[in-house]
């Protein structure tokens, strides 16, 4: 098991290097010259001399690979440079915004897991019943509904019409509910469907037949099926944690939630490259690390992987 974990951990390093290179390359191949952008946002006239000075200041006159190396070393120490706009270190900006996003994403993950496990199992057990059909109708609407529209409708209903929650901003627990629910909606439909279908598929497996032959109680059999289905669901969940955080971009903008999603969109409008760069790297790292953690959790659940095949 230890070897498996070690292997998996070591395997992510090349991927991380590839990702960082890609992010750096992406930003540096932008059609707009960062030096020019930096000047423009400072409202300096972009004369050729000014651009040249700025280029030197930003280190843009050095060769690409050298710049990448410097950038990578700096990033590893948490130095992503300074924002063009606020002049603050990017890390500070990120640190300020990250807790808000983390809170939003965790609550939403919690809601997603609770709701989809409950309904997923319920629907699988009561397959074909009226309740199952209703839930499947909701799932269908959920997957086709744009999340920003759902967010607007929720906001209108609960914040404008009934005035139960604030429409936007972050003050107190009250204000996190609507964004978190909106964020969960898309994922909930995917997960209910996933859990339900895996469980139904598992029910046709031979081990379930034998469990029935042995005269086990329905509850025990459901437990067996659930544990076997959990793996597929967990893998998908691991994949979607970064998707969840990426999904905060929309929700944070609807509800004016001061997280990194909003930071990133503002940065895109302002062409604030250091922040965009840091955002991309952070998301990619998150994605890789989440996958790693989920793989390890799955291995812990599954004796076949745990004991190294």
């Amino acid at each position: 098991m230890k070897r498996y974990i070690l292997q998996r951990v070591l395997a992510i390093f090349p991927i991380l290097i590839g990702i960082s290179f890609f992010a750096f390359f992406l930003i540096n191949s932008s059609p707009s010259d960062p030096a020019e952008v930096a000047l423009r946002v400072n409202e300096t006239v972009a004369t050729p001399e000014a651009i040249a000075t700025m280029r030197r200041e930003l280190g843009l006159d050095k060769p690409f690979l050298l710049r990448y190396g410097t950038w990578l070393l700096d990033s590893l120490q948490g130095d992503f440079g300074n924002s063009y706009i606020t002049k603050q270190p990017v890390l500070n900006e990120m640190n300020k915004a990250f807790p808000a996003t983390l809170a939003l994403a965790s609550l939403s993950l919690f809601i997603t897991m609770g709701v989809s496990m409950f309904f997923g199992i319920w629907c699988a057990v009561h397959e074909g019943s009226v309740g199952d059909k209703i839930v499947r109708g909701f799932i269908f609407v959920g997957t086709a509904m744009p999340s920003f529209w759902a967010g607007l409708l929720i906001m209108w209903l609960f914040a404008v019409k009934f005035d139960l929650f604030p429409t936007s901003g972050m003050d107190g627990f009250h204000s996190i509910i609507l964004p978190a629910v909106t964020l969960s909606l898309t994922f909930i439909s995917t997960y209910i469907r996933l859990i339900r279908n895996t469980m139904i598929q598992n029910r046709q497996e031979n081990y379930v037949l034998y469990a029935k032959v042995r005269g086990l109680k329905e509850k025990t059999i459901t437990r067996h099926i659930f544990k076997n289905s959990l793996q597929a669901s967990l893998t998908a969940l691991g994949m979607s944690i970064p998707k969840l955080i990426a999904g905060t971009v929309i929700v944070e903008n609807i509800f004016a939630w001061p997280g990194i999603g909003r930071l990133c969109v503002t940065a895109i409008f302002n062409r604030d490259f250091p922040i965009i760069e840091a955002y991309i790297v952070m998301m990619a790292v998150l994605f890789v690390v989440c996958n790693l953690i989920m793989d390890i959790v799955c291995a812990l659940l599954d004796p076949r992987i745990r004991q190294g095949e």
């Binding site: 042995r214 005269g215 086990l216 076997n228 004991q307």
Partner: protein, 273 residues
């Protein structure tokens, strides 16, 4: 009234309207053994699953399965559950996939014993260990701690047989219980089945490809072909005066096989000299 009485058992695939087995008839008393033989795909396993009410939802089962006069096909799910394991137990054909891969064999045996009898966990563990020992498993304590993927097919099959023995059902359905075992183990296990029957007086349905094994164990025999029952009767009668060409064919091929086997042995022996 016999213990288990099957009448007109027919299974139809509702998706394709294909008839998988048709009008199966047989009965079985306690302390007797019925052997079912037939080629692959003739519907032996489907018959067993239908008896236990475990056919897949898309299969339509008609006819009667009478356990002491009560028709199991109209029984409540809960009644059926009570019957499975306690009164009728089955050994599945595919041992490799029969156990849940995420729980140890011991855990699954203990949970079965606990839910079907009045055992507590420690008793159940001891019983599981004892029965495994009876199945010639040398280190039952270790085997109980293993997961399905760590054991061979034969080993798993023996675990299944052991569990069936520990449950002491009235009727045991064994679906090709010896296919995964080598010849020596096969003999031992079949002997064990024989002994088990003598001690507990349980009724047994024994499915096999091997006419020799069936001849050795069974009192009655049922021959199936393409989902239909072509021959049913006491074993001596069927072996001496087979009614159906297919049965005759089966018996003949068996003779031919044993003959060619003997000849091959003779040749080998003469070569050695």
């Amino acid at each position: 009234m016999s213990l288990l009485n099957i009448r007109n058992l027919t299974v139809c695939d509702r998706r394709t309207d294909e008839i998988l087995i048709k009008d199966i008839h047989f009965e079985i008393d306690s302390n007797t053994c019925l052997g079912i033989v037939g080629e692959s795909g003739s519907g032996k396993s489907v018959t067993c699953k239908a008896i236990l009410g475990l056919a897949n939802p898309w299969l339509e089962v008609t006819g009667q399965v009478l356990l002491e006069g009560n028709n199991l096909l109209n029984a409540e799910q809960e009644t059926l559950r009570q019957i499975r394991g306690k009164r009728i137990c089955m050994i599945l054909q595919d041992a490799m996939t029969a156990f849940d891969p995420l729980y140890t064999i011991g855990c699954q045996m203990v949970e079965t014993l606990c839910e079907n009898g009045q055992y507590n966990k420690t008793d159940a563990k001891i019983i599981a260990m004892e029965t495994l020992q009876k199945m010639y498993i040398r280190e039952p304590r270790l085997v109980l701690k293993k997961y399905a993927h760590q054991l061979s097919g034969g080993m798993l099959q023996r675990c299944m047989i052991a569990l069936a023995m520990a449950l002491k059902p009235d009727i045991l359905i064994a679906d090709e219980p010896t296919t995964a075992l080598d010849a020596i183990n096969q003999r031992e296990v079949i002997e064990e089945f024989q002994r088990l029957r003598q001690i507990t007086g349980m009724a047994m349905i024994f499915i096999s490809h091997d006419l020799g094994v069936v001849q050795h164990l069974a009192d009655k025999i049922l021959v199936m072909k393409d989902g239909e029952q072509v021959e049913y009767g006491p074993i001596e009668q069927v072996f001496e005066k087979p009614q159906h060409i297919y049965t005759r064919y089966l018996l003949d091929t068996r003779k031919a096989l044993t003959k060619s086997f003997h000849e091959a042995m003779k040749v080998r022996r003469s070569n050695k000299c």
